[in-house]
């Protein structure tokens, strides 16, 4: 099946109006030898067949609705209110494009303006853009901004920043004169002494993550203060839900704060689409990448919204643009806006508190099991690193857990070969006490 309304008779009539007798005449500029190849694609399907195909493929996956997952590591499962799905499914939200014609796009533009406001408030920063692709590319764009704004070559990044963010950072900066230096960790947090030594006046920025990839809380205020001494910019990558209880980046002087915002009202979706949140200070406003919606007035003096400060952008500035980004993650930004409206300050704090309490409960119960201990002695929010004793075969234990309907913590040796026998566990409000107790019983039988 296809979605073309014009009938063959209409198409023929249109060809006549164009002044040709066949379709082929329209594509005479396509050289004969390469024209109209055979497409090695299966025949089309009717809607009912497509549904069957899709449901069959989906049934070969074990969704988070059917297993109890303790995975986080940058992708966090949080509740999505029904209203978020119901509203965002409206065609008026789902099917327009970037609001180039402001007067016919006031819905999208006002929603972006509300989004920018909420993200500023959540992160306690001056300005937020309309979104970037994901948390990882937001870290990379932060470094690009710092590199260009300070005209300094060195980018310091803690090794406790999510490896995907560091890998994307390395890809983005390859081919430029920027140099990336990783700062080691001690006992699960960035080594402040090493950071202090690495900080000289050729450093563009320091990038840290809160909570970091091990779940530990970093001394962000101290790191920010150290960073500012030689005039470098402090970049914080944060977890939006945690800001219901944790100090926001604006409070510890971040110059740029970024986040993966998918957890604000969108499903995990196997890791994408993501929602890159990007915020900065008023001082760096004109260097911000991506779209910005601004409030203005119309000819009659009435309030209205439009895309603004577009001279930063690729369609005007071309090779001198602050970024190459065009399409961003507008629909997820809308979902985040609806999500934050529904939760409000109270709901957000409750969601964060439930995550914190359940994670601490799980952490204590897990550590009751002989052979399992805390890998680091640090405060955490809802994610933590455990160490199994060396006799435990993690892969075997996790296979057995999977059979019992659990997905165990993420084995960190995959990213950090120097951390064998460690796993990263995450608990959010979607996990019940019964599920945690069930996990403990299963593990006790195995370890």
């Amino acid at each position: 099946m296809d979605y073309t309304p014009n009938t063959d008779a209409q198409l023929y009539e249109m060809l006549k109006a164009i002044g040709v007798s066949s379709f082929e005449a329209l594509i005479e500029m396509v050289p004969e030898p390469i024209r109209q190849p055979t497409l090695n694609v299966p025949s089309g399907l009717a809607e009912a067949q497509v549904i069957e195909l899709g449901e069959d493929l989906a049934a070969k996956n074990r969704s988070l609705k059917h297993v109890t997952s303790f995975l986080g590591a940058g992708a966090y499962q949080h509740l999505v209110p029904t209203v978020v799905d119901a509203l965002s499914a409206r065609g008026e939200w789902l099917t327009p494009y970037t609001p180039y014609q402001a007067e016919a796009s006031q819905g999208t533009l006002q929603a972006i303006y509300e989004f920018q406001t909420m993200i500023c408030e959540l992160l306690q920063m001056d300005v937020a853009n309309a979104s970037l692709y994901d948390g990882a590319s937001s870290v990379a764009e932060a470094a690009v901004l710092a590199f260009r704004a300070t005209e300094r070559p060195r980018i310091l990044v803690s090794e406790a920043v999510h490896p995907h963010a560091r890998q994307v950072l390395a890809t983005y900066l390859s081919g430029t004169s920027a140099m990336i230096q990783e700062i080691p960790t001690v006992n699960g947090v960035t080594d402040m002494e090493a950071l202090g030594k690495a900080l000289r006046d050729d450093v563009a920025c320091v990038i840290m993550q809160q909570p970091n990839v091990f779940g530990c809380l970093e001394p962000m205020a101290h790191a920010s203060e150290l960073t500012h001494r030689p005039g470098a910019l402090f970049v914080a990558s944060v977890y939006p839900i945690s800001l219901g209880v944790l100090q926001p980046p604006g409070a510890y002087g971040a110059d740029i704060a970024v986040a993966e915002g998918r957890c604000l009202g969108s499903p995990v979706a196997y890791g994408g689409p993501g929602l890159g949140l990007f915020t900065t200070t008023s001082a760096l406003l004109r260097r911000i990448p991506g779209r910005l919606a601004g409030c203005t007035v119309d000819q009659a003096g009435r309030r209205g919204y439009t895309l603004t400060l577009q001279t930063r952008e690729q369609h005007i500035r071309r090779e001198r643009a602050t970024s190459n980004i065009c399409t961003n993650e507008g629909w997820l930004a809308l979902r985040a806006t609806i999500f934050l409206s529904l939760l409000g300050p109270t709901g957000l704090r409750e969601m964060a508190m439930l995550s914190l309490e359940k994670a601490h409960y799980a952490n204590e119960r897990l550590r009751e099991i002989p052979g399992i201990s805390a890998a680091f002695d640090q405060p955490f929010f809802n994610e933590f690193t455990l160490r199994y004793s060396e006799t435990v075969d993690i892969a075997k234990v996790h296979r057995a857990l999977a059979k019992a309907g659990f997905v165990g913590g993420f084995p960190l040796a995959h990213w950090y070969p120097t951390l064998p026998h460690t796993t990263l566990w995450c608990v959010t409000e979607v996990i019940s006490q019964d599920a945690i107790d069930g996990l403990i019983d299963t593990l006790k039988r195995m370890v």
């Binding site: 390469i34 890809t171 081919g175 690729q314 980004i325 399409t327 409206s341 997905v407």
Partner: protein
Amino acid sequence: MGIPLIFERSVAGRRGYFLPPSDVPRRDPADVVPQEQLRSTPPPLPEVAEFDVIRHYTKLSQLNFSVDTHFYPLGSCTMKYNPKLNERIAALPGFAWLHPFQPTEHVQGMLALLYELEQLLCAITGMSAFTLQPSAGAQGELTGLKIIAAYHRRKRRTRSTILIPDSAHGTNPASAALSGFSVVQVKSGPDGLIDLKELKQKLTDDVAALMLTNPNTLGLFERQIQEISAMLHAHDALVYMDGANMNALLGIARPGDMGVDLLQLNLHKTFSTPHGGGGPGAGPVGVTKALEDFLPVPRVRKSGKRFVWVERTRGTIGRVHGFYGNVGVLVRAYTYIRTLGREGLVRAGQTAIINANYLKAKLQPTFPVPFNQFCMHEFVVTLKALKAYGVSAGDVAKRLLDYGFYAPTVYFPLIVEEAFMIEPTETESKETLDEFVHALIRIAEEAKSDPELVRRAPKRMVVDRLDEVKAAREPNLRWTTTNKLGAVPKPVGG
């Protein structure tokens, strides 16, 4: 009637969502987190009821033109119908609620879909391999440029120039600059196509690649594409194709057969995934066999009957996105390709071309087409004749809104004065196209008889024409009770 901000509806103590009660021991956060790491004041988010939220965002949505509600002929954006079936499949919990680090035996259906999508995109484009990781066209371009750099690095030489035609989309030069290349512009010839003489002159040994869009932004097929590719290859430089306009080539021609070495596709254009008011998109990159080793990691591969992620390859440029890219978008595009199948894709490509040429034929007597030949999926007209009446392309765009049509892309490509870039897509009916023609011709008459009417348009939207100069000079980018970024204007109505 304007709509107040959600913040202006806030009533202290009102709630819109209730979380389940805690089933574990309560804690004082100060017992587990150092006091100085705790948030001292809650973020001033709106306090509203669920029904407030429903009414607010439903009313706001109604201020938008969208593909579902209006003809949206935005050139080079391929605003075709976004099938509801795609949404239904992507929302299945077996796709929407998977964690990226679940063991591969939990996600075999997902990996099979991704693997098959790569094969389908190879078949449609004639390329050898694809990465699905880039999350939009511009990120696909960036990925392609990193691959170009890696290719020359492996050959142990420095090539620092990317050639880009003057008709190119702005993301092309921006992506090249972000990758550390310098951009040299290639002027179009009198026929709107790449001028081979000009190309030859600029094709030095420092050229790493040519980035071209085919069909180009004028909607014209680069008929000498094979010669162009051969010229680049003679210098061991690569041909990058911006595949934003791939909708025109479905079943018509394959970039892999034209000598293209690598390209990005925009799944939110050609493959019908919704534009979402500005994303998410997906920008998979396809390459020839010779470039496959450079693709980003991880890559989904088949090992016996199982699908696995391969994390490392020898020459990879690395990663461009967290996890595996915009998977939810990929599921929608896969659904679309399987729904249309071979015949449906061919019909989509052909109908897109017929619709565009029909619209062009009908508009041409009123609005001249500067590079006049049969077009592919889109075409560009110039409105410069209306300047005599003091009416600009931007004015006509605004007046079109009053007639119930979204405006085409205006003032682009830059090489056409007072440009209107029109792309009807295959999912619009002849009746809609006729109504659009009728509206544009009437506006052209209005421009002569009552130019003020056109200059003051739109008049039927929720707001009249907006003051963009004020927006840029006095940036007001967030609502605030303390008016830090400027005075909050009075709400309209209520």
